[in-house]
Amino acid sequence: MVFDEDILQDFLVEAKEAITNLEEGFLELEKDKENLEVIRSLFRSMHSLKGASGFFGFKSLESIAHFSEDILSKIRDGLLKPEEDIIDMLLKAVDWIKFIVQHLETQKEEPIDDNLLEFLVSLSNFTEKLKKRIEGKEEPMQKASQEPSQETTQEPNAQEPTEEVPQEVEKVEVKEETDKEEEEKKKEEEPKAVAEKAVAERVVSEKEKKEIPQTATPHVELTETHIKVDVKLLDTLMNLAGELVLARNRVVQLAQKILDDDLSRSVQALSMITTEIQETIMKTRMQPIGMVFNKFPRIVRDLAKSLGKKVNLHLEGTETELDRSIIESIKDPLTHLVRNAIDHGIEPPELRVQMGKREEGTLYLRAYQEGGQVVIEIEDDGRGIDVEKIRKKAVEKGFLTLEEAQRARESDLLQLIFKPGFSTAEKVTQVSGRGVGMDVVKTNIEKLGGTIEINTIYGKGTTVRIKIPLTLAIIPALIVTSHGWRYAIPQVNLKELVSIDPEKDLLKVGDTEFYRLRGEIIPVLKLTEILKQGSRDGVSKDGLSKNLVILTTGERVLGLLVDEILNSEEIVVKPLGKWFKDIPVYSGATIMGDGALALILDVVGLSKYIGLSVEEVEKRHDMKGVTIKTSKEETYFLLLFDVGPDRLALPIALISRLDKVKAEELQIVGGKEVILYEEKVVPVIRLENYLPLQGLPYQDQYTVLFFTERDKTCAILCSAVVDTFETTLEVEEGLYNHPGILGHKIIDGKTVLFIDIYKVIEMYDPEWFIVKIKEEEIHVKRILLAEDSPFFRNMMKNYLSAMGFEVVCVENGREALEKLNIDPHFDLIITDIEMPEMDGFELLKELRANPQFSKLPVIVVTALAGEDIKKKVFELGANGYEVKLQRDQVLERINQLLS
């Protein structure tokens, strides 16, 4: 039979393990004949060996296992005592098993060996003998006295025990002597049983006699194909490899100066070998996570059994590789989490059936790589976590005040589980111990630089997600300089390199500089300024940075101005000590080819300097209190500009371009004011024509803000750009009630009006946004909009209404549900995520849990995109996920869902 290499390998590994177990077990049993545990374990090993070999059709192996298992079962059931001859026979069986396994490994099929066949027969007979021994146990004494003579003539195999007795003499205690005597007596009974059997046995025993002078059993050494190595040894190897590389580099440098063919060739050989050594050593440390996962089937089985639960374990992604040291460190946390899942998560079978679930609970252990991290998930379909219970417990135990607890969102409450002293398990079970576990799990994970989070749906299940960075990373990086010092930027964050003239190409708006990259406005940071570093050789080099590195954090794009761009290299990330933990711009250091050090820049940390990633900063720090993120906390970049004496604000993200035009460039064509910009005719909008503003005085030069949707562009005229400002979009409504004005806010002592640009453009040209002619809808579609920020609420309501939808607004999830309860006739729900009292996630859950609304299309809108959130949102049953400001895409999605 031809087998899949992998399956055979698995079998062989298992078989070898079983063999080791068996050998150890039998030896243990010899010393401690009453050890039931060992007997049971031996039986199990033999039993599974039998099963597996049966599956493969390895008949001989199956037979040996079958007979041995038989004997073991009798011992286990107390019908037989594990006497010497039995153990001997069983050990012989193990030897033969070894022999077969070794043959299987090399030849992929069972051996055909006479000795093997003889052994099989003798084993079978031995088993028969034992059966008789059991039956004849009631009359040992009688027979014994009657048959001393018969023994010598008919029982050559009695020689065996006598032969072995001298060996055993050394170990003998008083007991064993009597055992031996009993054995002999028992052997005497046997020939008495059936005459034919005696003949057969004689025949057999003669064969055995022949066997004895030859090798009784083959001695086989099973070779180990894997060995254990101390991780410290590998560490040392790694460092040495690194130093070898440095030395090699120096040799290469020096050799380049000497023109000698032989030398060059030798150096090249040296170079190649060194590279290979380094790469191979790197590989030794990476191990598949399967190594840890594979322990779990057994753990899960035993645990489920002991708790009276039925659990089905699924392992996914076992080939995902991790550094060895990490694999060691996650074993314990994983075990604890799995235990928790089975203990507290999965319900007892009867309860599950009652709830309409399958009797068997399912547990998923998943691993996969995602963006420089390894993600491990432990998912169960158990009872989930009762968040309300946590809420109450939090107040009881003093972790939160009543108010805070009321307003806290699910994700915050779940994080409390990780606080020391917080355990909601009512019964402290032996198995998973006290809640001491979870906080220790979190600490251990954080020690590896990872994060852990819990997601749960009450009644449906829980997922614990662990993310660990690939620390022993060799990452490709770009080497740049700032004031003569080298820095490394991970290539994964790199988008583009641009060579610029900082005087001309950068737009300075207030304190921040911007660069226009093909229509996109990107904030720019100067590396030398962030580092506030003096120059290496004492000479001030300000203004010499001409290289712009365009970076991305995945969510935001920014530009970094550096002095020089050197080259791209693969670097090894080395962690920095504790003194540097709080500096956000570094993610480690690396040793360059020439032995000098370079700091590795952390792009997310850099983006902090523009204040872009407030959310990401929060993620890094442990949340001491429970913070509620509403529109109060979300900050955006606004552009403040003046139109005459009035000051206005727009989110920068809406502006596609910024430029200046001279008054003379403005023309009137076809009754409309336009400018010629980059060979296109762009209509110009004067805001005072649509909004209650005082208006633009005549200026020689105006600043224009370009707004582009699809392929149409228009320009908004303003006196000057004041500044960019990072602020929340909390605006006050009511005072300036005019279409096009969303609200106002006092910034720096001046009233600033927030404009709804969509409305303004619509007022300018109602045809602007219409692409197709809409058919007359008999039924006006109703949309429920849940959004706490008045700015966005109004903006979206406006553009949705403009498209002909009836829009009803609420300010948070709770209100949305209340509204739906009173008036369920909505065609679509659009919801924000960050809202007080009930956020978007919870709203989604509630909707999907309610049969009335489970099919209602829901679009989740957010200010900033993020893969994590997107995934979660779809997991919870959303139908769409869009960015608020991208009106086009929101509308498209709505159309898609409603058609």
Binding site: G577, F580, I591, A596
Partner: protein, 160 residues
């Protein structure tokens, strides 16, 4: 019988104690100068002493961190010891004192001048005085009176 035995044991025990005390009576210190102060750190904590090493500065780090250096493939944090202990005097750091740091990469204290290796009797070590001028007291674990000056013994754990 028993009582006698026990007393014998007691006597034996105390003899042992005396012996032990007798053996462990001095600690070896590596001494160095920070300005005019003679300071010491137990020799067992010191990995090596190094000169002429290239330090790569780490901008935005604390004042007393001079940067990092490459010690045979390990990234070692370099600390200006004078700044760390708030030495009033200005000194020119020249020599690296590499300190073992259990379980992690070693740290280097940069000092001005290395002194002698001193054997200090265990029982002659005293508590630091109430006021110490010109240097921060919290890092000083003990002091030892030498004939012509005082040796300030640092608490390395606090320094790290």
């Amino acid at each position: 019988m028993d009582i006698v035995k026990k007393e014998d044991e007691k006597v034996l025990l105390s003899k042992e104690k005396d012996q032990k005390l007798a053996v462990k009576e001095t600690i070896t210190f590596v001494t160095f100068y920070l300005g005019n102060f003679l300071c010491g750190i137990p020799a067992e904590l010191i990995m090596e002493i190094n000169k002429d090493t290239e330090i790569t500065p780490v901008p935005l780090a604390d004042d007393y961190i001079l940067g990092i250096m490459n010690l045979r493939g390990q990234i070692v944090t370099v600390m200006d010891l004078a700044k760390r202990v708030n030495l009033k005097e200005q000194i020119k750091p020249t020599i690296n004192l590499i300190i073992k740091n259990e379980g992690e990469a070693p740290v280097s204290f940069v000092v001005e001048r290395i002194g002698d290796i001193l054997e200090v009797p265990f029982d002659k070590v005293e508590k630091p005085p109430e006021k110490v001028e010109g240097i921060s007291k919290e890092y000083i674990k003990n002091v030892y009176q030498l004939p012509d000056k005082i040796l300030l013994i640092f608490d390395v754990d606090k320094l790290l």
